[in-house]
Structures are given as C-alpha cells and as structure tokens.
Assembly symmetry: C3
C-alpha cells in the first residue's frame, strides 16, 4: 500500500457522510471539533463511582471486541482488553501469526471470518503500515476498526491519550510549546502526536533527535527539527519522550547506549533548561538510563502514569463513540 | 484406542437412557430426530434482538466452559469461546501441551483436575482419535464433553453447522445431491459430514479425490467415490470442499500445488458442471488457488461466511442443550 | 533480596495496623485467628446454590484482577482465573517474560503501569524469592498482592487450601500428626505448609526426604527430619506428598526415577505403615510411579481432588477478604 494513500483523508473511510466517526485510524482527516469531542467524552470514564461504572458496563453489553494483534504488544493489548471489558463487551484476544495466516489465509480472510462471528470492533496492530486502513475499507457498515499501531505510520489512540493528559495537567494546548525527543524516524507515535498537536493549535512543535533518526523533510509536517537537545528544550512546556528500540543500537544509527544517554537522554539538568513547570511524558515501556534518567521518570514532573490511566479512559471513550455513532445505542 | 470402539454407539456414552444428549462426540450413534432438534434449536441464536440476547446470556450463567485444546486451533477455539461467552459462561482457554502434560501428567489427570474446579463443559480438540470419547467415559454425570475434532475421526460440530447452512440455503436435505471434494483420507470433517448427510437422508453423497487421498472401502460409509472431479460434480447441488494440508504437498500424496489445482481445484468452469444454483462450502481456512479459486470463494454461490456465522449459533445450541439435558435449566 | 527480610513480619506489609489483611504473601507473620477466619470464610464458596452463586458473583464486580505470572504455571493461574471470574472480577492474564520486561522494563515499572490501569488485585508468581513482597511494599493502599509462589520461599494459598482440606476430612489439626515427603530443599509448598501446620498447633510435623533434599537446620522450623520413609510414616495421620521436579533427576541429587520410587515413592505398603485411616495429599501435578503409586493416588484415601476443589474456594475467600478489608465492600 503506497504511503500517500494512507494520508489522504478522502480515501480513509473513518468518518461517514454525516461527519460521524466510523473507524479510528489516524489523526489526519479528523477535524479539531471531533478531537475535542472525544477528549471531552473521555472524562466520564475517569474516576467513575460504582453507580456510574455499572452504567458504563452496559454500553457495549452484547458486543464483541476482537484484539487482532498481528504484531505482539501485551501492553497496548491489555489496555484495550481492560477498556472493552469495563464497557461490558466480550473481548477476544487473537495473535494471528500463530494461527490461520500461517496456514495460507490472508489478512482479509481472517477478518471476514471473524466478522461473520458478529464481531463489532476490531482493534488492529500490525508491523505493516496501512493494515488497519485496508481492513476498514473492506468491512460492512456495522463493524468498526481501531488502529492500535501500524508500522511506522500511526498510533492514534496513543496520541489521543497524550492530548488528554496534557489538557488535564497543563490546560489549553494552544498556549503550550512541545518537544518530541528520540527516534522520530521510526516512530508512529511521533507522527500521530504531531498531527494531533497541530490540529489542536499547539503554539510550537519541535522534534529533537540525532540526524540519523530524523526523517528527511520532517519540517513539512509543521515542526521545527533540532539535533541539539539542550537548544531544543529551551522554553518547552511539554517534553514528549519516545522509546528507543534497543535493537537499533546494534546497527549504525546510534553509537552506543552510554553515548545516546549522554547526548539525548533526559536528565534533571536538561529538564531544567525547559520552561518552568515543564512536564515529561513517555508512551512506555521506558528504558531507564537510556532515553530517560530514573529520577526524571519518577519525579513529580512526570505524567507517565497519568498517561496509562488516561489511556484506558480514552480508549473506552473511542469504543463507546464508534458503537454509538453506528446508531446501536442511541438511534 | 482401537478405531472400532469409537464407532460403536453402545460404547459412546453421548446419549443417556432417556435419549437425552449428555455429550456431543460423533454424529454416529445419534438418530435423525436428535439431529433435527439440535438444528431447529440453533435458529434462536441467529439474529437475536437485544432482549433475546440478554435472555440467552443467562443460559450458562454461573457455568464454566473449558476449551481444552491439546492441538492448537485458534479458529475453532475462538468460535467456542464466543459461543460460551454469549451464553454467559466463564470460558477458560487451555493449551495443555504447554502445561501439565509436559510435566508428566496424563490427559485424564488434567481432566480430573479441571473437573474438580467445577467445570461444566469441556470442549476437547486433540490430534489423536478417540480423546473426547476417552474423557467422556471418565467424567461424572454433570460434566459434558464436546468433541471439537479428534485426529482423523470426527468433527461433529462442523458437520452440524454445515447441515444447518445447507437447510437454510437449499432446504430439505433429502432432495439434494452432495459432493465432498479433497483429502477424504485424512479428514475428520468428511467423516462427520458423511454420517450427518446419510442420517438426514441425502439423495446422494459422493466423495471426489485423487486415489491417494481416498480411504479403501470408503463406499462402505454410504458414498460413491470419484477420482475425476468433472464427472463427480455432475448434477451436484452442494459442493463441500475440504481444506488441503499444505504439509502433505511435500510427501508423495500429491504431485504439486499447481497440479492439484489443475486436477481438483474448484473453479468457475467446474462449478458450472454442477446442478443449476449449486452452492459451495468450505470449513476454512481456505487455500485460495489451491483447492478453490478466489472468484468461486467470493462468489454469490459461496456459503463460506454463512457457515462461520451459523457455527457460533449451532455451538451455542449444542452447549445449551447439553446443560439443559442435565436438568440444570429445566428440571 | 536477603532471605531474612522475607520472614520478618514487621517488614512484610500484609497486615495493616488494625490487624486486617492487606496482602497475602506468607503464612509467617499471620496469627492463628487470621488463618482460622480465612478457612471458615472459604466454606461459603463450596457447593453454593444458584442464588448464593449470583450473590458471590457481585463481590468483585467492577474490580480488575491481574494474574502476573513471570514464571508460567497454567494450573495455578487457571485456579485464580476461575476464582476471580466467579467473584465477578475482570481477570487479565499476563506472562511478562514475553512482554515489557524483555524490552528493558523493570518488574516495578510493569506493576506501576498495570496499577495505573486501576488494577485491584495482583496475583504474582515468580521464580525469584521475594518478588510478591517487593511489589507489596510499593503499591498504594487500595491495591492487594497475592503471592502465588515465589522461588523457594512461599506458596501460601497452597498451604491454606491444604489446611482447609485437612480440617474438612480429618477435623482439628491439633489432634493430628503430619509428614511432608519429597524435595523439601526446593519446595516453597513445604515451607508454607510447615508454617501453617505449626501455627494451627499440629501435634507433630515431620519431613521425609533423602539427605540431599533436606535443608540444613530444617529442624529449626519446628519439624523432625527423617531420611527413612518407612520409619517416618509411623503413626502419621496426613501424608503430604511433594512433586518431584523431573529435571533434578539429571543432576546428582537423586540417583534415578526407579531408585527414587523404590526408596521414597508412596505405595500401598507404605501407606499401611501410617496411622489407620491416614489420608494422602499432593499439590499436583503428580508424577505417577515416581513420587506416588497410581493406586494410592486414586484410592479412597487420596484427598488430591478435594484439594483442587477447595483451592478455588480458598482463593475466592482470600480475594474477597482482601478487597473487603480495604473497605470497598463494607465501609
């Protein structure tokens, strides 16, 4: 699938003609009002009391959610499993590399088979860019696809939980300056964060990385690139760290873990170069002492555990809205 | 376990003295009325409205279903998992090759242990013929065994969903001619289909395969054997394809995938040799371009996705009837 | 983590200042009344009628239980999964060797992440002694840890289900003589059993093993050690067999399986050396013909399947009490 196709909203079927969300595939193609509506609706899923929880546990009652993870990710899969169960859905975990695709069945045959079992929501993770889009173009109207990460392309629910966490702790995004730090080149998280921040009118978005981990023409996405972290962090309100894939250490992209931490690791001294009260985020799991110092990760400036908590709520909100948009709940 | 024992209904304990179903192990040993009662009861589980779904979700409330898959099969396991959850049961998935049997525990010790946890239904899949029967002979009266495929012997829930699908799309089985095409020799699916079709009074049942994939004395089962597919499909109303195990390609049973497709693959031309309006079935997962051409699999004559949908309903009906027959629901 | 720390009750945070159970980590540090209260409360979870079951299924409604098994154990994991589901909890199974710890995340980061997803109970199994304690010292007050086996240290829920089973079948523990037979050296089960039996005032506790499988200074734990099983079983009322790890056969600790069975295997003749009516227990899975003869395992004197049944009930009781102690149910 050519990467151009992925970013063309007219070809991503995530919004229907009435402007309602049918799938959740990328931030691109959504408008600011849609993002804000999702973020606002997520609050109801944070700290709900027992009465409220019971009500929420009926929102997806009778529905089936399939976690279709062609690429393994226990962490993300678990958040969707918990989110689905708290909404009352039956959640089925599938890791199809071990199943039918090995037997010569294509991805679409797998999806069609599961769909024939009356699945309502597919949460899709794959190492290939575009898989969630491909599936979304081939399912009937009552089936909803959520992209849980596709190749280097997008990880939109991660971006949404990040936006929620920023608004919760730092207020209006249009007043804030952001820096995304780390392996920008390979990061679907960075791509979705940049799209969301720009859509929500961030005052400034910077990316900070060694030149080997910066895509060419990255500035086209509406960011300023820095290779010097100390310079890049100046006046920044929100520092969004990326996870460094240790397996890249063995290639030529990064000299060594010590050298990387010395040049790009976020420590206390660097944190202090940012704006007063700057906060730190990380999608997890962290490599302590590689991209982030332990004392920074555990400091009162770290929003890392808030991100996890909000991740459940945001995913519950997205699932609830997808099903509701289809008229199952309210029509 | 000698194969003779398997087929002797007096030794298969699936029906109690009052004629009620205690286990679901093979089609053999059941009578036509029992099959029809199961098929009729499955309709209630197709397209149920929200009110009906809630009612069904209480049928196995408080019950525990264990998917005991000594041989892995994500597809079949998932259908039983969904069926059990929609009936309100707690479903536990176990793949015992990774667990206790490796530690020296026998199959029966595993079953006795799980049974002591108040399990109500075991869904058993194994590569050895007779495992489900073996277990059924050793469990107490309130425990029910469903055979989800044992060696080359039987896959009775697959045959039942096939019968349901045929009746739904083509009406009374006694008016119809059937051809089962492919690896008859190794197929538990074929064995159960033949038994069900003959019990329900099919007008004719044929099997079509290369001579190397036909059991000797197959005609004793009440079928006519063909090695020429073009001849065998003549006047056939329902074509039941079998999945070809790719691993058999490397042996001497089949020359090559291209050669197999040329000689036995179901394509449009061959479909047109069958009776007008003939339909195509496949238990999945398909090898497109090997046993079946893609355009046939996706054509309006294909019932393949109906089979999947009906598979959930038929398994729900079987589980509900087993538990009910034990008097848990109605006594 | 030094082993001394593990056994010091002042440093094990399992009981709060009001004497209520916050975690369930070891038998050591609990008092007799606490043990008896747990054992008494477990009876309600045995043979409950439908009405009672529905009531119990609401005790952990809205709660999330995470089975965090760093070391795999399908059997123990399944009992906790069933126990949690019967209490109405959402149960998430995680086997973190396959997930984030491989990516460089520490155990505590894994726990903090899951905790941020509003997990209420962690059931922890690890090959290292002290892991459950380590976690318990770092979680907030509303999170409860259950030790499902840590290294050679403790397996307290196993000991509790054993105590329950003994009281059910043989009455008051203070009237009885016990022998624990097998690999005492490596057994966390034995350690927890000895602690529980002594706390409940057992008349006598013996351990029986080859000298190579007896810890030095074992008698400090309040037991008498025997290397001759025939002598050790004399007058014993309850024989508690341990599972022999087959992998130890290859080392120098045991000569051979035949030799071990000849010298230490429990057969009918040896069973008859014990007190009249003596019963046999085993935590499972058994090695038939290695540590125990098949006819003994299956005899009317064997309580092995009762142990399994009671294991679910005892674990339900522990979970219910932990959550209740936190005031969630009754405050």
């Amino acid at each position: 699938m050519p990467s151009q196709a992925i970013n063309t909203s007219s070809r991503t079927p995530q919004v229907d003609d009435a402007g309602r969300l049918k799938h959740f595939l990328t931030i691109e193609g959504l408008d600011k009002a849609q993002l804000l509506r999702l973020l606002d609706s997520a609050s109801a899923f944070i700290g709900a009391d027992t009465e409220k929880q019971k009500e929420q546990a009926s929102l997806l009652e009778g529905h089936t959610v399939v976690n279709l993870f062609f690429e393994d990710s226990t962490r993300t899969r678990t958040t969707f499993e918990i989110a689905g169960k708290r909404l009352g859905a039956a959640v089925i975990n599938l890791n199809p590399s071990r199943m039918s695709t090995r037997k010569g069945e294509t991805v679409l045959d797998t999806v069609r088979t599961l769909e024939a079992m009356d699945t309502d929501i597919f949460v899709v993770r794959d190492h290939a860019s575009g898989t969630a889009h491909l599936i979304a173009r081939h399912v009937p109207p009552h089936v909803h696809i959520i992209n849980a990460g596709d190749g280097r392309h997008a990880h939109p629910t991660q971006a949404m939980l990040d936006m929620y966490t920023i608004r919760e702790h730092k207020g209006d995004i249009s007043n804030l300056r952001f820096a995304i730090v780390g392996d920008i080149l390979h990061s679907r998280v960075a791509r979705s964060q940049i799209a969301a921040l720009n859509l929500l009118g961030a005052r400034e978005v910077r990316v900070i990385a060694p030149a080997t981990l910066l895509p060419t023409e990255i500035e086209r996405l509406g960011v300023t690139a820095f290779t010097d972290i100390d310079e890049g962090l100046k006046d920044i309100d929100v520092i969004m760290m990326l996870r460094l894939q240790l397996e890249r250490m063995e290639g030529k992209l990064i000299p060594s873990t010590q050298e990387y931490f010395r040049c790009y690791g976020l420590n206390r001294v660097r944190l202090n170069r940012a704006a007063p009260g700057a906060v730190v985020m990380h999608p997890g799991p962290m490599n302590r002492g590689l991209e982030i110092a332990s004392d920074v990760a555990d400091s009162e400036r770290s929003l890392i555990l808030s991100q996890v908590t909000n991740g459940i709520a945001v995913r519950m909100a997205i699932m609830a809205q997808l099903v509701d948009a289809a008229g199952v709940q309210t029509a």
